[in-house]
Amino acid sequence: MKANIFPLNKLSFKKSLRSLWPKGKLIVLVVVIANLSACSSLGVEPWERDLLAKKEMALTSSPIDAALDDHIYFSKEASSGGKSFGGGGCGCN
């Protein structure tokens, strides 16, 4: 067991790494890190936010409409939330 936790040579180090990180997870991690680093090249400078600052470009441009819609669909369908919390709140479902 100890050898796995504190590998003495390259081979056992690789093995222990593999056991700690199944291949699938490792790939996911690499993709996430790659995406995060790619994000750093995305975006705008503060003076380029003219369009993004408009009310209609806000992710929830009309919170009142969103609240009313959430209430309707929560009481009529089996799904809720996703964009915001989908928790309890009324006896309608």
Binding site: S40, M57, I72, K76, F85, G89, C90
Partner: protein, 461 residues
């Protein structure tokens, strides 16, 4: 301030920040009597005073912004609801934002009780046990005693915790005649990459208590039908009940990531995990027990598991087109939801905000929704399959497709106040999840379509 708008994902934070943009865009003096009264009322509630606030705060900070709306939701031959909302937001000195919201709604009309249509008239006992109602032959049984009034209060406080971190906390209270819901939530949002990227996490917890009139029915017990004025009726009805009230709790975790792509585009990704525990059965719903000819022999109260774990992923993109496409803003989102009841669902929501002239816009809206059935959903039970643990014939957890089509027209009035009108058509189309029906049900509508119209007027000031 504009940068901050783009960095908040957690809903409380986002909503509050939206108001900030609004402050900057429409920071005109709006001296309206109604607004003055509401500001005073809100200040009185908070124990602060509008009048004594320092003059330097008079514009961006220390100004209440109000959004109000009145909505009518009306189903063809079924439920109709009216709902009124007023929400106030106040930005304080250090970018602290307080939001208060009051919602009142009233519900009347008929709702499907879960039983299936029959070639003959059917008699059901009301959930309260007081009296009966009769459904004509060939019609979907609807309980017409559906009536409720609800009052809901929400409060949310958001503030910067450091240069890059915004925090918010909120509370929720909702009271109906037969239902009480209390909730709290907390959110943290971290901005990085010149405020172009944001990671957020939110937690919420709700505790609900259901006290239905007539009490909680005994799961899978037969609905008592007969003369409700008979001397032994009350005692017999009580045998179908297991208590006066029951509880459920809901804990949600929401993790979000927002990214500004370029000057015209912003995207958001959310993952949410929701645990619901407690009484998840609908006390008003029954399921028909039919014989091999398809004729109802009995109606039993439904029974759902006492826990449900829901997960969902949500993606949204907003894009601001250029003049060649009239500066239209496209808002497209997709949600995939799955749970341990075997329900999966897809939701696609699209809106296009198209400016019309200098001060108005039109916003077409299309929403598509598709869900699979819960593993214990059945439209009815055939007599010899009666030994089930969990069963429900509620079409809302059955297989279904739904479509919403509508449009909104908004106009910015003098002084920056906005008036808007919205009208939408909502159509639910329940579908057969592969059940083979007895001949006696031929020609009956087992999966009736539900249609509704939604009309709304909003005013922001």
């Amino acid at each position: 301030m504009a940068e901050k708008v783009l960095v908040a994902v957690a809903v409380g934070v986002t909503n509050d920040m939206n108001k900030k943009v609004k402050d900057t865009i429409t920071k005109t003096n709006k001296k309206i009597n109604l607004k003055a009264s509401l500001s005073l009322a809100a200040s009185a509630l908070l124990g602060t005073s509008v009048v004594t606030a320092p003059v330097s705060h008079a514009k961006d900070a220390d100004e209440w912004q109000f959004d109000s709306a009145f909505l009518v939701y009306s189903e063809v031959d079924r439920v109709s609801a009216t709902e009124a909302i007023i929400a106030g937001t106040k930005t304080f000195d250090n970018d602290e934002v307080l939001s208060l919201k009051l919602t009142v709604d009233a519900l009347t009309g008929a709702s499907a009780n879960g039983a299936i249509a029959q070639p003959m008239a059917q008699t059901f006992t009301r959930p309260s046990g007081n009296g009966q109602y009769v459904t004509p032959a060939g019609e979907t049984p609807l309980d017409d005693t559906f009536k409720d009034t609800r009052v809901q209060l929400n409060a949310q406080w958001a503030q910067p915790l450091s240069d890059n971190i915004t925090g918010s906390v909120g509370g929720h209270l909702s009271k109906e005649y037969d239902y009480l819901s209390l909730g709290v939530n907390g959110n943290l949002a971290y901005d990085f990459n010149r405020n172009n990227s944001t990671i957020s996490i939110g937690l919420s917890y709700f505790q609900d208590t259901f006290t239905p009139e007539g009490g909680i029915p005994k799961p899978l017990s037969s609905m008592l039908i007969g003369d409700s004025s008979a001397p032994d009726w009350d005692a017999e009805f009580a045998k179908t009940r297991i208590g006066d009230s029951d509880d459920k709790s809901t804990a949600d975790i929401l993790v979000g990531f927002t990214q500004v792509i370029n000057r015209r585009m912003i995207t958001a990704f959310n993952y949410s995990y929701s645990m619901v525990d407690g009484y998840l059965t609908d006390p008003f719903k029954v399921i028909s027990v039919i014989n091999f000819d398809g004729i109802a022999q009995d109606y039993i109260y439904e029974n759902r598991p006492d826990s449900r774990v829901k997960q969902s992923t949500f993606m949204q993109t907003k894009y601001h087109f250029d003049e060649s496409l009239l500066n239209t803003v496209a808002d497209i989102s997709y949600r995939y939801m799955w749970d341990d009841w075997d329900i999966t669902s897809h939701t696609i929501d699209t809106r296009f905000t198209i400016p019309v002239g200098r001060a108005s816009y039109i916003e077409p809206h299309i929403r598509f929704y598709q869900q699979g059935a819960a593993d214990f959903y059945q439209p009815y039970i055939i007599d010899d399959q009666k030994s089930v643990d969990f069963v429900s014939a509620d079409y809302r957890i059955g297989e279904m497709t739904a479509v919403t089509v509508g449009a909104k027209y908004g106009v910015v009035l003098n002084g920056g106040n906005e008036l808007s009108f919205r009208i939408e058509y909502y159509r639910q189309m329940p579908t057969d999840a592969g059940f083979v029906d007895p001949n006696g049900l031929n020609g009956l509508d087992k999966y009736p379509v539900v249609e509704a119209v939604i009309a709304q007027v909003s005013y922001s000031f």
